[in-house]
Amino acid sequence: MLREIRGAILAAGLATAALAGAAPALAQDGPRYGGNFIAAIAGEPGGLNPVLWQGAEPQISTSGLFDPLIMLDMDGNPEGVLAESWSLSDDRRTITFTLHDGVKWHDGEDLTSDDVLWTFMGSRDGYMPHSRYRSTLDGLVESYAAPDPLTFEITLKQPYAPFLKVFAASNYAMRIVPKHVYDGTDIQNNDANWAPIGSGPFKFKQWVRGSHIELERNEDYFVPDLPRIDNLIIRVIPDETARLLALQQGEVDYLYYYAVAFSAIPTLQSDDSIVVTNEGAGLQGQVEMLTFNLDRAPFNNLKVRQAFAYLLDREKINELVFFGLARPALSNIGETTPFSSENVQVNYDMGSHEANVAEADRLLTEAGFPREGDAERFSVNLLHMSGRPYAGKVGEVFAQSLKEVGVNLTTTPLDRPTFIEMTHAKWDFDLSEQQFTSGAHPYVGIVRYLRSDLHIAGTYPSNHMGYNNPEIDSLFEASTTAASDAEEAKIWADAQKILSEDLPLLPVVEMPYTNVYRAEWHDVFSSIDGVFDIGRTVWTENGSESR
């Protein structure tokens, strides 16, 4: 009885505390209007055509200007933007989108399915290629059609269940551009690439080269109540420390995860004026991995790769390099990507550090690298990309473990172009540290660097390891025709198991996605992967109650 009363008192206390905690939020509920939301980016985009320029900086600068047909909501389900509704045909091959009526381009022209068709055909026919969409989804499509001004159809070569989800993911989504502005012109050099005409919640105002890009509220936006802010400003701040200071100072409101150093996260977390969150960064699956050159000794020998697997201490690397913020990863399919599973692979762990060292020692001897006393067995080099705050540190920590078995690991930092050339064009490396995202689906995320026919010099990313296993190739193929989620899950589980047996690469950690913004802002994200689409719903406590 006494315990129950105590429990009740405790519960009441907790409830009061919760209410007290919720009080400030209640005081400023509901969206408010006005204000400038300022996001900082590290480098300037080349241009503001959302199809021609891909990557973080162009995406963050153009997402407010151009709408896609559909996007993913905060739970990861497709949600209409330009499309009011959509339906799947009985044979599950044709998706029919019905567009919102009365949507206008910023210059007053009507947006119709003709614009949509022209944009998709631009990628297919190569007059305006969207590199991510073209290399992943376009191959699954048989035809595009616009039977009437408000209807757009996509017919797939064969039914493919995850199509819509990947199609809606922000990295692949085709943002529709105006046909009347581009058609018949030199598209690559059209002035609209730098002073764009879109249909989104924001209109282009000005681009002060090297300084900032300013977008203003589209008063005629077809979604009522959106956007809430007056201006969305993208400011270029190349230096990492300067970005952080600008955020703390209130000169900038938002930094996406690339733009924040891990070392700064603990400080930011203790700052009440700043929100640190992984919201908006779903479906990224950015995995830091060590890839082997399988065409070259000693890594053409599976036993050597296994020995390396036994010695890779992911926990220690996470602690020392990523401040404990990352997630040790056994699979190269990230946690937020569908079909990710951490328990289907062979785990190279004998239970203790000593046992792992002994096992690695044994494997290396069997592989033909016996050790005499404390002598060095062999020396290998790890190439990594310079410029990142943690650059080279993964290798340094790993080198300590490898030293115990007489393997000397040296590391070489290279700037991005040189790094890509050495690892992906010349294939001149022993080990390389890569970061690939598994994205919205493993088919678009991991196949691109593992399938045997993608061992192509000069494309990035590609199968630079020289990995070749027909079994994996056929599993990748089979995944596109899987009849059900369960069947597809089995295929990806099998693939992950084979990868952990073949060891073409060692996943190390999945990167942390810590977006940070100033606490007076709310509803910064409107999509599960909306890290670069931040102007749509955001509002500030300092705004006014009505327009």
Binding site: S131, R134, S135, Q188, S211, A246, P417
Partner: protein, 327 residues
């Protein structure tokens, strides 16, 4: 007088005639250096999900498939026609891109240069009047620091002290974006943004101007004509400013002119730390993206600037010291 004018004019023309071969040398050396550096611009332009066809199309579009000597001769021909080519990254004429950013760098350079020259020379004059005394020792030590401190570190420290802690100045950028302004308020706004980068920038050159002027002044103040001036009963300051400084400045201006190239290097650092939208940062970005035409274009324009500044420095020297002949 007219003879002097003619000789001056012919001197200027002869110096300008040297510009073309120098620019050609700059273009040749840099073109080869850049093309020898590893890294394929087409792969970088195409992004992380590119297919081979896209990469090939970009190579075709930007003439990267052509043999090196064809690329080179077509580039030189264009430069001779004042066409610096097309930026890969921005897909716009290089000249337009650089000219849009150039005023920002010039503002920064101009203020830092004036600041460092005036302050450096004044401090040197005070120091040289009584060398090795308290003022001179303090000023010399500080100048030594300014000379040694890495520019990016000094920049960071200035931000930490004057913007993060004291909140007197913004952390970077050129404009306040929270409340944009027009006209005079905008000029003031830019001025406020200019203070810290100009200080970080000026420190090195101030130290240099100070050390050069001080050494030369101390040497000159021992000369006979200075003793004569003193014996005429002129004050210390009058002797220093009217008689000694004039002669001391000749080498200072010549060296500062030569150092203009170093200043451009400094611009890369300061503009990056302070997010200043100038040419220095553009150069840094163009290296990272292997934007060859842009990088080469910046080199050409900067080399031209360096040659021009040195010419001006020579002319100023000759104005200060009439003994310098236009040889």
């Amino acid at each position: 007088m007219s003879g002097s004018f003619v000789s001056r004019l012919s001197y200027i023309l002869r110096r300008l005639a040297q510009v073309a071969p120098m620019i050609l040398a700059v273009v040749t050396i840099n073109f080869l250096l850049i093309n020898l550096a590893p890294g394929d611009p087409a792969t970088l332009m195409a992004g992380d999900f590119a297919d081979l066809e896209t990469i090939e199309r970009l190579r075709e579009e930007f003439g990267l498939n052509e043999p090196l000597h064809v690329q080179f001769s077509s580039y030189v021909w264009k430069v001779l026609n004042f066409d610096l080519g097309y930026s890969y990254q921005f897909r716009a004429p290089v000249l337009d891109i650089v000219l849009a950013r150039l005023p920002n760098t010039l503002i920064l350079l101009f203020f830092s240069f004036i600041l460092s020259m005036i302050l450096g020379i004044l401090l040197a004059a005070v120091s040289a009047r009584r060398p090795n005394r308290a003022f001179d020792n303090t000023a010399s030590s500080i100048a030594m620091l300014g000379y040694c401190l890495p520019m990016f570190w000094l920049g960071m420290m200035l931000i930490l002290i004057f913007s993060s802690t004291l909140r007197w100045f913004p952390t970077g950028g050129m404009y306040s974006l929270r409340a944009p302004s027009e006209g005079w308020p905008r000029m003031l706004d830019i001025g406020r943004h200019l203070v810290l980068p100009a200080l970080a920038y000026a420190a090195y050159f101030l130290a240099m101007a100070y050390r050069l002027t001080r050494a030369k002044l101390i040497e000159i103040l021992r000369e006979d004509y200075i003793r004569t001036a003193r014996m005429k009963g002129l004050s210390d300051w009058s002797v220093i400013f009217r008689h000694a400084l004039r002669n001391a400045l000749v080498p200072v201006i010549a060296v500062m002119g030569l150092d203009f190239g170093v200043m451009i290097g400094g611009a890369v650092v300061v503009e990056t730390v302070f997010s200043w939208p100038g040419v220095g940062r553009l150069m840094y970005e163009s290296i990272l993206s292997r934007d060859y035409p842009l990088l080469l274009g910046i080199f050409v324009i900067v080399s031209f600037g360096i040659i021009l500044v040195n010419l001006i420095a020579d002319l100023i020297c000759a104005m200060i010291d009439p003994r310098i002949a236009y040889g």
